[in-house]
Symmetry: C2
Subunit: 143 residues, 2 copies
Amino acid sequence: VTDPIAAGPPPPGRAEAEVRAAHRRYYAAFERRDLDLMSDVWEHSDRVACTHPGWRTLHGWGAVSGSWFAIFGGPQQLQVILTNEEVEVAGDVAWVTVDENLLDVDGSGTVAALHLFVRSDDGWRLVAHHGSPVAPQPGPHIE
Amino acid sequence: VTDPIAAGPPPPGRAEAEVRAAHRRYYAAFERRDLDLMSDVWEHSDRVACTHPGWRTLHGWGAVSGSWFAIFGGPQQLQVILTNEEVEVAGDVAWVTVDENLLDVDGSGTVAALHLFVRSDDGWRLVAHHGSPVAPQPGPHIE
């Protein structure tokens, strides 16, 4: 297996830069609790899926937008520091893995996230988000 | 938003059936603790990503295969009942959401999973897996 650091990242193409920008818009919407911006990030279709940490997977833009409405209406204001952002583009689809390092009044924690984007005529739209809390001491345990 | 049940699923095409079969192979490998079969399911590349429940995201086939080696060498034998399997195909990429209802001697639990497959000359290969435990009482909380 090639060491990804030794091999070096591929030169960022236009698609990768576009996906990276879309990914940042997602987190701008999240930090600002901006439902309009979050709405712009997502594809509005029945095929979208969103799994918030600890939640069941939500399907369809109606359910997903409702979850953001509930989350943005909640009491918690979060700051997010992103690390380990990795972007992969395969034709008109791209996926991004990132660690969300969340800071709030109660402390901090890390959420591992996977995002899937599909290119449309209007640019890259998010079709799947999956976030899950990283345990303080991960190790080889049950799947 | 259209009710997916009322609208009816699209007729399963060849690609969707192939993805569904690849998805089932993943769970066959998981239940049988079969590293060779699991190896066949995944793309062997640096771009693959795997997030086991509670773990940090692993990148590259080397790290991912090592995690399966560790998990399959562990003590826990699991039975998995899959529910809510949803397959979406977009060109040469497909994603699948599913609930893994896990049964073992310690009890049961549900893991929400997202899988991303990319079509190669040899068929559909898994490039990303993300699984996260579903809390017993999910609701509108942080992220």
